[in-house]
Symmetry: C2
Subunit: 370 residues, 2 copies
């Protein structure tokens, strides 16, 4: 299926920081058909560098969506049954208002005058979009990594609008190590002279710094074992070591390639803003504890983690599960066996498909009989 990215425009969105962005645009895609009862809508929330193009084929460049293996006819998120929505996050650079957008007050890109945003702010804007589409209650909010944080935040902020939440490979709060990896990425960008305190639009972007930041990311997305299987110590197009600082190993070539590709599709300032939103994220912020935060949720939860994911390890999912169980909430937890590290929720989708499919079907039965 080919798909189209649409834009919704709102007068303003309020921010945790106390200010607002006005106006604000949201890029989004939809797949499948909203039924007459309007009770089959599922919101997909994307990871850090994802975008609204979650499924189908983009007519311009022919590229499949980032979760196309999970969303479509007969897939885990079955578009024959459900109406799927995915939007680019606030602060992003893939159609939704972010630091690279034009600030109407100046006629120039916001750059660092863009206000700091949080996961809750992203969710607030998504809620406006969902209402705009005429939906009162979502059958599910589902996503991995930063998407999982948004799914948790949705269940907490809008309990009456969320029948179920599927947070995958995620956490209720960023740990010191997770903050540390993000800080390295930020420092790599800010060390690039082209960054110019965020004011590089119209000139050269801080491509070298951004590429280094992305390289760090890619290491954390894979497991030690999956890197061993994919690359090992194989040399790239040579028989012996170069003894200079060109590419020797396949894994170096892969990282350099991924880094250089990334700068073509991602804005360095968005990288800064979104990593800060991740680091600030603690579901207990403003509540005092995870249990207090979850107190009013009405959603059923399906929490998924992967055995080899060391970026968002299973113990963090278990903290969510424990807090929910302590409140006697409806929560299922699956730790899925996978070798793919954090990337598993994107690439190793066999078992994930089965548990999501079953969970959605039973949630839909419950919702549609209410």
């Amino acid at each position: 299926m080919t798909v189209e990215t649409k834009l919704a425009r709102f007068d303003e969105v309020d921010l945790d920081i106390g200010s607002r962005i006005a106006p604000v645009e949201v890029a989004y895609e939809t797949y499948g058909t909203l039924n007459a009862a309007r009770d089959n809508a599922i919101l997909i929330v994307h990871a850090f560098t994802g975008d609204a193009h979650a499924a189908g084929i983009c007519p311009e460049d022919g590229k499949p969506g980032w979760w196309d293996n999970m969303i479509g006819p007969g897939k885990a998120f079955d578009t024959n049954k459900y109406f799927m929505i995915c939007s680019n996050v606030l602060g992003g650079c893939r159609g939704t208002t972010g630091p690279s957008s034009i600030n109407p007050a100046t006629g120039k890109p916001y750059a660092l005058s863009f206000p700091g945003v949080t996961i809750a702010d992203m969710v607030r804007l998504q809620q406006m979009l969902v209402r705009h589409l005429g939906i009162e209650r979502l059958l599910a909010v589902a996503g991995g990594s930063m998407g999982g944080m948004q799914a948790l935040e949705w269940a907490v902020m809008y309990p009456e609008m969320v029948a179920s939440a599927i947070p995958i490979a995620t956490t209720a709060r960023h740990s010191a190590q997770q903050i540390a990896f993000n800080e390295v990425g930020r420092q790599a960008i800010m060390a690039d002279l082209n960054w110019n305190n965020g004011d590089y639009y119209g000139g050269n972007p801080p491509a070298r710094g951004l590429a280094v930041a992305r390289m760090v990311g890619h290491i954390t997305f894979m497991s030690d074992d999956s890197m061993k299987q994919k690359f090992g110590r194989r040399l790239r197009d040579k028989e012996t070591f170069s003894f200079d600082f060109s590419v020797d190993f396949e894994v170096e070539s892969y990282l350099r390639y991924r880094g250089s590709q990334f700068v073509n599709r991602f804005d360095a300032n968005s990288y800064l803003y979104i990593t800060k939103a991740l680091d600030y994220f603690d579901l207990a912020n403003g509540y005092g504890s995870l249990a207090k935060a979850f107190e009013k949720t009405q959603a059923r939860f399906l929490v998924i983690s992967f055995t080899s994911d060391w970026l968002y390890p299973s113990y963090q999912s278990l903290e969510v599960v424990s807090a929910l169980r302590g409140l006697n909430k409806d929560v299922a937890y699956c730790e899925l066996e996978s070798n793919y590290g954090h990337d598993a929720f994107l690439v190793d989708i066999g078992a994930q498909t089965e548990v999501v499919r079953g969970f959605l079907a039973s949630t839909y039965r419950e919702v549609s009989h209410q």
Copy 2:
């Protein structure tokens, strides 16, 4: 005890790459007294960014050596019994010839005209120093991380000179993930415009890139849990989030501080050369297998790893142990419980002290009765 760094000078050292460095200087320190039989000498081999100052107090700056908790009277490496030697590695920047040294052919620093070096080259130069000090056979070669690689290489290259080897928190070959982390550090340095293709001596060094490289390193030295205990999500000198890109969290402050301190004591080109030596390291190079490499070793081995070390995980130590056991070599293996990650061999030395002390004593009994 105050100590003094000495310099030894040799006409040349041969390199794996096929060329040589001539002349070559080695910075080294010694602690304790060589006995009349000359059979109580232990070589300490340092980790990546270490130096010859392993123990005692430097008279200039009052700083203790990097393994001062392990080396001294009554300590694991007891200077009342043993004569300890530690030298800075070839390619380093702490007194031994490296890329920041003057190339006698040009009168200018080598920079990138410095030849590529390997762990074996470092060991070759150390062997010249040990002979120079009048020692025919070392009671032990001991070190952690890159030091452990040198200890393994010593046992393989100079079997008749090594009575025992103590490789700690190390590996017989760098994995794809280990290469990947090093490559990120190299790319961060090379992305810094001040790097100038290595030609920055006399100008501004690539301090920002080197700091980013070091920050990545520090994350890998600690465990998720030790970062949680040391920093958690504590904010630095503030009550709420800054929503700019200044320091919010303690862990950010720590990493920035460590990064900025590092550039005062380490040369960016040495960073490049030594990380390449690490990545090239595979004890099986030139032998075909680990078993073949170990075939002629005469040393007893004490292999140590730490439970929370994810940079050099225990499975890599077990590969060494398995290869040695397969050859019926004398090998003891201790996986020590620690929360400190890779840093454990430097900071969590209680159990390490006990096993090293016992191992050295029994080795010395054997050696001195031969």
